[in-house]
Symmetry: C2
């Protein structure tokens, strides 16, 4: 039996993970396919770490740390403390429970499984009913060029706390990469496509840089809505504003709309920004994108669900039934 509905989400980690968590309570989890950025992946202590795949998997499994926004709720860091004493680098932190996931993934990859197959096995073990797909099975590395030199994304983001001003971003390996099995199919078959409130440049950007994915979005029969991660000219969290500027986009919802203008139908922007709308329009904001204003800041579990409903509601049609609070029991 085909799912009643197929919703395909493009996502990075933190904000995307919260959004997907809400969405999975508003529509049946098995109807959701998440295509996840892997440009932030890194080899750490010899293990293959996929921060965004991990955050999405933990979010859907109900294990994501609410306090940190990454890793496992209530995790300990005993291994990392011992690793520091042994001289291993520890600027990228891995919790003890979290380590099991990286050990399992590294073993699966070592035994010849693709990243997509390893991810499917891990989320199945977690009891997750949604599909979680890496954007590609190949290695793509997001690199940020800064005044302090070119950095791997995690070096820029975690090690340097995104202090150096970014000058540009590239996705090493993207041109030679191809979408992971299931990615193009999930875009073509979707009844709705949602772009999570993730950094358009370094979270969604790598996905769009994989040859074939941007074209598939343009060609997709489903309506496409994106949730802006920008509120009032700044990112809800992280370095999105500086990265937007470096990529030539305004650090605002209108910049997000511009970044996606070739495939986007609806932009979900924060209601706090509605006051700028007339001005934006006057300044030439005419991407043909419909803007829907609502509260995009997910400070609580109900607010995650509300944002998912707002995104679905903005696309209308067959999705309307999921937009009232009583539609699906959590």
């Amino acid at each position: 039996m085909l799912p009643e509905l197929m919703i395909t989400v493009l996502s990075g980690g933190t904000g995307g993970a919260k959004f997907v968590q809400g969405l999975s309570r508003v529509v049946p989890a098995e109807d959701i396919t998440v295509i996840v950025n892997t440009g932030d992946d890194l080899e750490w202590w010899g293990l293959h770490v996929s921060p965004d795949l991990d955050s999405i998997s933990y979010a859907l499994a109900g294990q994501l740390s609410r306090e940190r926004g990454w890793g496992v709720e209530g995790d300990s860091f005993h291994c990392a403390e011992a690793a520091a004493r042994l001289g291993l680098p520890t600027w990228f932190r891995l919790g003890d429970r979290d380590l099991a996931l990286h050990l399992a993934r590294t073993q699966l990859l070592g035994s010849g499984r693709s990243l997509g197959e390893a991810t499917a096995e891990i989320v199945a073990r977690f009891g997750v009913r949604s599909s979680v797909l890496p954007m590609t099975n190949q290695r793509v590395e997001t690199r940020v060029s800064t005044a302090a030199g070119e950095l791997n994304f995690q070096e820029y983001f975690v090690r340097e706390h995104y202090a150096p001003t970014p000058l540009g971003v590239c996705f090493a390996g993207a041109e030679q990469a191809s979408p992971a099995p299931g990615v193009l199919e999930a875009l073509a078959a979707a009844q709705a496509i949602l772009i999570a409130p993730s950094n358009p440049i370094t979270s969604i950007g790598p996905i769009l840089a994989i040859p074939g994915i941007r074209h598939a979005l343009r060609a997709a029969p489903a309506p496409i809505a994106a949730v802006s991660p920008m509120v009032g000219g700044a990112a809800v969290s992280g370095p999105a504003a500086a990265l937007m500027r470096a990529a030539g986009f305004a650090p605002s919802y209108s910049g997000v709309a511009s970044a996606y203008s070739d495939f986007l139908d609806v932009l979900i922007a924060d209601y706090r920004d509605a006051k700028w709308h007339d001005q934006n329009a006057a300044l030439g904001f005419s991407t043909g994108v419909r803007v829907h204003f609502c509260d995009t800041i997910m400070t609580s579990e109900p607010s995650k669900d509300e944002l998912a409903r707002a995104a679905l509601s903005s696309l209308g049609g067959a999705l309307d039934k999921f937009c009232s609070r009583e539609a699906v029991s959590p």
Copy 2:
């Protein structure tokens, strides 16, 4: 400056680790070189685990769990619990702090370091002043043939709790292996050689199976004493008795003496077994080995130190100065 004294110890894990701990408090730690069994090594969760090297390193670093006799004192097992949920095997238990050592070793080996170099770097990080050498840098695997089939040593010992009766033991790869750098030198230069109270078959046996080591023991100018791990016809811990029988030796101190008879000068046996001595002599126990009886059971920190003193005292000569309790402050 050369060390005043050079004491070389051959050791396995548990009992050997306790013995070496005492010894390092009785003589200056920097005068001790420990040659360690690596026949129990295994790849676990993709990491190179060297149980006996680990136990010796933790013992000398003051980190060894007293309760368990392996791993790190007070360690947690959060990663292992999460690994079980992800379907990783967990019959071999790795604590969270312990994991850091295996991650560090695996990374060092992956970067081209030998096992000996990796071990030296790890013990240096721990602040250990003794030298810890693997018996060889090559892979040697202790395999136990049992009625239930041939098992890797850890499968036999940990997974099967040494329930299957052992029929024989082999050391796969030993014939092609060579002693790690420093091993033959430490035997030739030693002023005393001690065989720790480790299983003669599966802990000391693999070391003796590396071509050149047994010959170096026979040729060593230093006197050689072994501490028997057998008391009253059984091992103090573990499956030594059954393994001794399988290898054709009596499961007693006299069997231990026989196993080492071609190079041993003194056997330190437990005083509880002194009553058998005349009978053993009557039964043909005439290996030319002098037997020294004392309390060999290390139930406390002082008893570890006492056993080390007894072993040194049995060899006499230059070692006498370390045999009184006041010789070296802990």
